[in-house]
C-alpha cells in the first residue's frame, strides 16, 4: 500500500519535474510533445464474441450464438465505440482490428457501421490499417470482397494447419483446401496485406511434418505469418483429452525445435521476425500489433475486450487498464443502459506502466530503443535501470540480452527464452524505480523544509 502511494506521488512529482524542466531545455519539450501525442492517439480493437462452434483448444471469450441478434450487437458496438472514443479524447485512431470469436461471421455492414462511427468521432486516415480475422470457410471467403468495401484493408486468416485431420482434432470448421482458397482470394483483394496464422505443437505433430507443412504454406502465403504454439488451456476439451491420455502433444523440447526450425525456414524465405511470433517480408508488419508492443494506447470495444488508455474525458491523467464485461448479453444490456460495458478499470502506476512497456517491448526483435524508453521513463534511462544488476550482466554476457547504444533487446537465441529473462528484468526495474522514488521523496522533503513559504 505504502509503495503504491509512493508511486502515485512519484507520478505527480515527475509531471511536476517535467514542467519544471520545460523552461530550461528544448529536448524535454519534445518529449512533452510526444507524451501528449501518445495520449491523443490510439488503436482500436473490436471484439466479435460469436463462433459457430467451439474449437477444442480455445478458452477465449466466445459464445455460440443461439439467435441472431446482429442488429443489436452492431448498435452496441457502435455505441461503445462512441462512448470510449469520447472518454479517451483521442484525436486519431491509428489502426483498427476486428478480432474474436469469429468476426468473419459478422455482416460486412456491421464492420462498415463501426468504422463509420470511428470516423465520426476521430480521425481515421484512409491509410490506417484495418484488419479483420477470417475463418477460412467458404462463407467467410465469400464475404471478403464486401469486407474490403466496408473498409477492411488487411486480412488475418486463421489457417492453423494444412492437415485436415489436425483441423478436425482442433475442432476447426474448415478444410485445408478451403484455407488455401481463402488465402488466394484475400491476396487478390489486399495484395501484400494478408497474414496467415499457423499453429505448432499440435497433437501428434512431428518436427518433420511441421517443416513440410511450413514449406507448403510458404508457397501460398502472402507477406505476413504469425506462428502460435498451441497452449493447453484449462477447461478446454483438448486439455481434458490430454489429461485423460487420449491425445498427446509434443514434448517441450520438440516444440522448441519446431519453433527454431520455423524461425530458420522463414528467415531463409525472406521473412523477418519482428516479434516473438510474427514474421513479415517487404516490411508488411502488423501496425496494429506493433502499437501494442510499443506501449501505445489502445481502446477495446466489445464483450471482454481490453484497453489501455488515459480517460481524459473523465479528467483522468494516468493510463488505465480497462476490461469490458465478458458475457455478450450482459455487455449488451450495460451498453444500452450506460453507453459502455466497462467492467473493470485499474489505474496503472508509473511502475506498472513501465513494466508493461518492458514486457511488451522486449517481444520485438528491435527491442526497446533508448528513445522509446525515455518516452515513458524520462528520468531513468535503460542503462541506469539495467546497467548495474549482476543478473542482467550475466544475461548480457551469455549473449542472450543486448544493451547497447540502440537500446535493450534480445539476441536471436535470447528471444526464444524471453520469459525466463523477464522476471529478472522486472525485479531490477522495480528495485530501481523504488530507489529513485525514495531519492525523490527525500529531495522533496528537503525542499519543503528549506523553503518555507
Amino acid at each position: 500500500m505504502i509503495r503504491h502511494a509512493c508511486l502515485t506521488v512519484r507520478r505527480v512529482l515527475s509531471v511536476g519535474l517535467r514542467c519544471f524542466s520545460h523552461v530550461s531545455t528544448g529536448e524535454i519539450i519534445e518529449d512533452e510533445f510526444e507524451w501528449t501525442h501518445l495520449s491523443r492517439q490510439a488503436s482500436l480493437y473490436v471484439h466479435w464474441p460469436y463462433c459457430l462452434r467451439r474449437c477444442s483448444y480455445c478458452n477465449f471469450n466466445k459464445y455460440i450464438s443461439r439467435q441472431s441478434n446482429e442488429h443489436i450487437m452492431t448498435e452496441c458496438l457502435q455505441k461503445e465505440t462512441e462512448s470510449l472514443l469520447q472518454l479517451s479524447q483521442v484525436s486519431s485512431i491509428t489502426s483498427v482490428f476486428f478480432g474474436g470469436g469469429t468476426p468473419s461471421l459478422a455482416h460486412p455492414s456491421t464492420i462498415a457501421a463501426v468504422l463509420e462511427t470511428v470516423s465520426r468521432q476521430a480521425n481515421l486516415s484512409d491509410q490506417a490499417e484495418v484488419t479483420l480475422e477470417v475463418n477460412p470457410t467458404p462463407v467467410g471467403m465469400s464475404k471478403l470482397e464486401d469486407y474490403c468495401r466496408a473498409g477492411v484493408n488487411r486480412f488475418s486468416i486463421g489457417v492453423q494447419s494444412l492437415q485436415d485431420e489436425d483441423l478436425n482434432i482442433l475442432g476447426r470448421d474448415h478444410s485445408s483446401h478451403q484455407a488455401l482458397q481463402t488465402i488466394e482470394e484475400a491476396r487478390r483483394l489486399c495484395p501484400g496485406r494478408v497474414s496467415v496464422d499457423v499453429m505448432f505443437g499440435r497433437p501428434k505433430q512431428s518436427v518433420e511434418s511441421w517443416e513440410d507443412e511450413l514449406s507448403e504454406l510458404l508457397r501460398v502465403c502472402d507477406d505476413h505469418v504469425s506462428l502460435y504454439q498451441l497452449t493447453l488451456e484449462r477447461g478446454t476439451q483438448l486439455f481434458k483429452q490430454v489429461q485423460g491420455g487420449q491425445v498427446t502433444v509434443p514434448a517441450e523440447d520438440v516444440t522448441a525445435e519446431m519453433y527454431q526450425c520455423a524461425r530458420r525456414t522463414l528467415d531463409q524465405h525472406g521473412f523477418l521476425q519482428y516479434e516473438v511470433s510474427n514474421f513479415a517480408r517487404h516490411n508488411a508488419v502488423s501496425h496494429h500489433n506493433m502499437s501494442y508492443w510499443k506501449g501505445r494506447q489502445y481502446i477495446g470495444v466489445g464483450p471482454g475486450a481490453h484497453g489501455r488508455f488515459v480517460p481524459l474525458g473523465d479528467g483522468g491523467v494516468t493510463r488505465e487498464a480497462r476490461t469490458q464485461t465478458l458475457e455478450p448479453d450482459v455487455w449488451i444490456r450495460e451498453v444500452q443502459q450506460r453507453g459502455h460495458g466497462t467492467r473493470r478499470k485499474i489505474q496503472l502506476s508509473h511502475l506498472e506502466l513501465l513494466e508493461e512497456v518492458l514486457v511488451m517491448g522486449m517481444r520485438m526483435s528491435e527491442g526497446i530503443s533508448h528513445k522509446h524508453w525515455e518516452l515513458f521513463s524520462p528520468q531513468l534511462g535503460l542503462c541506469e535501470v539495467f546497467g548495474t544488476s549482476t543478473e542482467v550482466q550475466e544475461l548480457l554476457q551469455s549473449g542472450r540480452l543486448i544493451l547497447d547504444d540502440r537500446g535493450l533487446r534480445c539476441s536471436w537465441d535470447g528471444l526464444a527464452l524471453l520469459d525466463s529473462m523477464l522476471p529478472a528484468l522486472l525485479v531490477e526495474l522495480e528495485r530501481q524505480i523504488c530507489q529513485q522514488l525514495q531519492k525523490d521523496c527525500h529531495v522533496d522533503a528537503k525542499k519543503k523544509t528549506s523553503n518555507p513559504r
Binding site: Y45, H47, F60, F97, G99, S226, L227, Y228, Q229, T231, E252, D253, T255, A256, E257, Y259, Q260, V276, S277, Y292, Y298, G300, A305, H306, G307, R308, A321, T323, E355, E356, V359, M360, R363, E394, S398, R400, L415, A416, L417, L418, D419, S420, M421, L422, P423, A424, L426, V427, E430
Partner: protein, 667 residues
C-alpha cells in the same frame, strides 16, 4: 513394593510430559489440563467451594492392605480407555452415561488417534466382601514411544491389566507393554476384550497368551468393556490377584514424584506415590533432588479430578501442591520427605533421550514468533522434547527438535497444528549418530571420547575417528504368516538382522529384528502396513548403539554444494538415497536457461547424477486482443518468486524444491 524391582526398567524410564497448559483459555476443550475438564464446566469459585464437601473421605481407613495400585496396558484400539470408563462408572467416580467415551483421553490428538499420550490417575472406591478398597487406576499410554510414561506409571503400581482384542489377538504393542510389566515383576491380569464382536475368537487369543506370555489360559478374563460384560470380575481380580503395596504407615514419610503438571494459578501439581508414612496439609516437605523445603498447601486424591483430603497415607497415590513455582522443581523421579525426618532418596529416573530429530520451520518467516511461542508452550511441560535453534538458508530461521520416537514427533506436530494453529514445514526425520575419536588429543579437545552428531555439518572426518556409531532399535512385528516373505525382504532391505521368529498361533507370526533406527524413521511403518494390507503391527524399543559405516553425502548443483541437503548415510544405502534425492530435486527445480547437473557426492566422488536440461524455448506466443493482464500477472508472480529463490551458484532453487526434498513424504 521395592523400587529395586523396577530398576532394570529405569534405563528406559524417561521424563516426558505433553503440555497441559493453556489453563487460561477455558473455552479450549482440547488442550485444557485434563483434571479440570469437569471443573471448567462450572465457575471456578464454585468448583473450589465443593472442595470442602469432599474432604470427608478418611484415608486413614485405607491401610496398605486395602489398597491396590494398577494400570491398564494395551495395543492401540484394544479398548483400554473404554474399560477405564466402565471402571470409573462402576465405582461411582463418574456418572454412568452414554457420553463417557475415553474419559481419560483429553487431548484432541488422543481422541482422534485412539491413543493415550498422557498417563492419568483415578482413585476408585470399591467394596469387596464387605471391605472397602481403594483402587488406584493409573491410565497409561499405549505406545512404546511413550513407554517412559508407562514405566513411570508402572513404578507406582503392583499389577497391570493386559488388554487384548478378542478379534485381533496379540499385537506388537501388546508384546512391548507386556515386557515392561513383566520386567517390573508386576502381577499381570490378561483381559480379553470385545468378546461381543462377531468375529471374536477368545480361545485363540487365550492360546496366544499362553504361548507368548506363558500365562495359563485360565487366568484370562473375557469381557466386553463396551457392554460392561464381566467387568465386575476385573475389579474382583484386581483385589484378589494384585498384591497390596508394601508400605508401612509407621515408616517416615517418603514419596515418589511420578508425574507433574503445571497449573498457572497454583503452581506445580505433583503426582506422588506414598511409599511410607503419612503426609498432611501444612507439613514441611523436602525435595531430595533440590534440597528445597516446601509447605504442603493442598493434597488429595485424583478421582480423576482433584479431590482434596486432609492426609495421604503409605501405599496411596495422589497429588500434592506445595508452592513449587517451576516445573523443574518437581523433578520426575524425585523423592519427597518430611523436613524433620530425612530418608534415603529413591533411585529416580534418567532423563529422556531424543532419538528422532526433525527441523521445524515456519511456512513464512513472518510466522516465526508465533511458531516460537507455540513450541515454547508445548514444550514447557515436556522436557523430553529437545529444542535447538537452527537456521537453513532455504527455509530461514527455525528449530531442530528432538523426539523420543516417531509417534511422539507426529503427536507433537499434530498438536502444534491443531491446538496452536501453526503451519510448519517439518523436515524428514534424522537420528543422532555418534563418533568415537581416535586420538587422545581430540578426546581432550572435545572433552569426551564420543560425540553425538545431530547436524550433518558437524560430522567429523573419517581420519580423526576410530568408528562411527548409529542408534539401533529392537523391532517387534506381528503379522499373519502369509506376509512373512514380504516382511522379511522389507526388513532385509532396511539392514535389519532377524533375532527371532515365533508362531504365536497357527496363523500369526511374531518376528524380532534389530534395526538401525534411521532405517525405520521415514517410511518403514507405512510400507509395512501397505504390504501386509494393514494386518502387520510394529513396535520398537531402543537397543543402544552399534558401529556403522557412515559417510557424509553432499548434494551438488552444477558442482556447488547445497549445505542444507548434506546428510549422513550408511555406505550401503548411499547410492539409493543419493539417487532418490537427485530425482526428487530434478522434479522440483524448474528448468533454467542452462543445464543443471544434480549430483550426489561422497567427498569428491560423484555417486549419482540427474540432469535438468536447459530451456530451449520459454516464451509464450500471442497476447489475444491486447489482453496482457494475465501475462503480466504471471510474470510479476515469477518476479516476486525470484526474490525468494535460493541461489546456488547461478542456479535458482525455489523454496518449494527444498520443501519437497526435505519434507517428510505425506502419508
Amino acid at each position: 513394593m521395592s523400587l529395586s524391582l523396577v530398576s532394570p526398567l529405569l534405563r528406559r524410564v524417561l521424563q516426558f510430559k505433553m503440555c497441559r497448559r493453556k489453563m487460561q483459555s477455558w473455552n479450549n476443550m482440547s488442550c485444557t489440563l485434563w483434571r479440570h475438564r469437569w471443573m471448567k464446566r462450572m465457575p471456578v469459585f464454585k468448583a473450589m467451594s465443593t472442595h470442602t464437601d469432599k474432604e470427608n473421605i478418611d484415608l486413614s481407613k485405607f491401610p496398605a492392605h486395602r489398597i491396590r495400585n494398577f494400570c491398564i496396558i494395551a495395543h492401540i484400539d484394544h479398548g483400554k480407555s473404554t474399560l477405564a470408563d466402565r471402571l470409573l462408572e462402576m465405582t461411582g467416580a463418574i456418572a454412568k452415561t452414554e457420553k463417557n467415551k475415553q474419559v481419560l483421553d483429553k487431548l484432541q490428538v488422543e481422541r482422534e488417534r485412539g491413543i493415550t499420550v498422557k498417563a492419568q490417575t483415578a482413585s476408585l472406591f470399591y467394596s469387596h466382601q464387605g471391605e472397602q478398597y481403594l483402587l488406584n487406576l493409573i491410565d497409561t499410554p499405549g505406545h512404546v514411544d511413550f513407554s517412559y510414561e508407562v514405566s513411570r506409571s508402572i513404578s507406582a503400581c503392583q499389577g497391570v491389566l493386559l488388554i487384548v482384542d478378542a478379534n485381533q489377538g496379540i499385537q506388537a504393542q501388546t508384546v512391548a507393554n507386556f515386557y515392561l510389566a513383566f520386567e517390573a515383576q508386576l502381577a499381570i491380569i490378561p483381559v480379553i476384550n470385545k468378546i461381543d464382536l462377531k468375529n471374536a475368537d477368545p480361545e485363540r487369543v487365550e492360546s496366544q497368551i499362553e504361548k507368548v506370555f506363558d500365562i495359563p489360559r485360565e487366568e484370562c478374563i473375557r469381557i466386553s468393556a463396551k457392554l460392561g460384560t464381566n467387568v465386575e470380575n476385573i475389579l474382583q481380580a484386581v483385589v484378589n490377584r494384585i498384591p497390596p503395596p508394601v508400605a508401612s504407615i509407621d515408616d517416615p514419610f517418603k514419596a515418589l514424584v511420578f508425574d507433574s503438571n503445571f497449573d498457572h494459578y497454583r503452581g506445580v501439581v505433583a503426582n506422588i506415590a506414598v511409599f511410607g508414612g503419612r503426609v498432611k496439609k501444612g507439613d514441611r516437605i523436602v525435595s531430595a533432588y533440590l534440597g528445597k523445603t516446601y509447605e504442603v498447601n493442598e493434597l488429595g486424591l485424583l478421582r480423576p479430578d482433584e479431590h482434596p483430603t486432609q492426609k495421604l497415607f503409605a501405599g496411596q497415590v495422589g497429588y500434592i501442591i506445595a508452592g513449587m513455582k517451576d516445573v523443574k522443581e518437581a523433578q520426575i523421579g524425585d523423592t519427597l520427605y518430611l523436613q524433620e525426618q530425612p530418608v534415603e532418596a529413591l533411585p529416580g529416573f534418567k532423563p529422556a533421550k531424543a532419538m528422532v530429530f526433525a527441523g521445524m520451520y515456519p511456512m513464512d518467516q513472518s510466522e516465526y514468533q508465533g511458531l516460537r511461542s507455540a513450541i515454547e508452550r508445548l514444550t514447557l511441560n515436556d522436557s523430553s522434547v529437545t529444542v535447538q535453534r537452527d537456521s537453513s538458508l532455504a527455509l530461514g530461521a527455525g528449530w531442530r527438535l528432538g523426539f523420543l520416537g516417531l509417534l511422539h514427533m507426529e503427536v507433537f506436530n499434530q498438536r502444534l497444528e491443531q491446538e496452536y494453529n501453526a503451519s510448519v514445514i517439518v523436515t524428514a526425520p534424522t537420528v543422532p549418530y555418534k563418533a568415537v575419536f581416535s586420538s587422545a588429543k581430540l578426546i581432550k579437545e572435545h572433552g569426551s571420547e564420543e560425540i553425538t552428531i545431530v547436524n550433518p555439518a558437524h560430522f567429523p572426518d573419517r581420519s580423526v575417528v576410530s568408528e562411527y556409531l548409529e542408534p539401533m532399535v529392537l523391532g517387534t512385528i506381528l503379522a499373519p504368516d502369509s506376509y512373512t516373505g514380504k516382511i522379511m525382504s522389507l526388513c532385509l532391505n532396511r539392514r535389519a538382522v532377524q533375532k527371532n521368529m515365533v508362531y504365536i498361533d497357527d496363523q500369526r507370526v511374531m518376528m524380532k529384528y534389530l534395526f538401525p533406527l534411521n532405517e525405520i524413521v521415514v517410511d518403514f511403518y507405512d510400507l509395512l502396513k501397505s504390504l501386509s494390507s494393514g494386518y502387520a503391527s510394529f513396535d520398537y524399543e531402543n537397543a543402544g548403539y552399534q558401529a556403522a559405516d557412515l559417510i557424509k553425502m553432499d548434494i551438488l548443483l552444477n558442482g556447488r554444494r547445497v549445505e542444507e541437503l548434506t546428510m549422513i548415510v550408511h555406505r550401503d544405502s548411499a547410492y539409493s538415497t543419493g539417487k532418490a534425492m537427485c530425482e526428487r530435486l530434478k522434479d522440483s527445480i524448474p528448468r533454467q536457461m542452462f543445464e543443471i547437473a544434480v549430483q550426489a557426492a561422497i567427498g569428491s566422488k560423484v555417486i549419482a547424477r540427474e540432469t535438468i536440461k536447459a530451456f530451449r524455448k520459454n516464451v509464450l506466443a500471442k497476447c489475444y486482443g491486447g489482453d496482457i493482464t494475465r501475462k503480466m500477472k504471471l510474470l510479476k508472480k515469477q518476479a516476486e518468486g525470484k526474490k525468494k529463490m535460493r541461489l546456488i551458484g547461478s542456479v535458482e532453487v525455489p523454496k518449494d524444491a527444498f520443501i519437497n526434498v526435505l519434507k517428510r513424504k505425506d502419508k
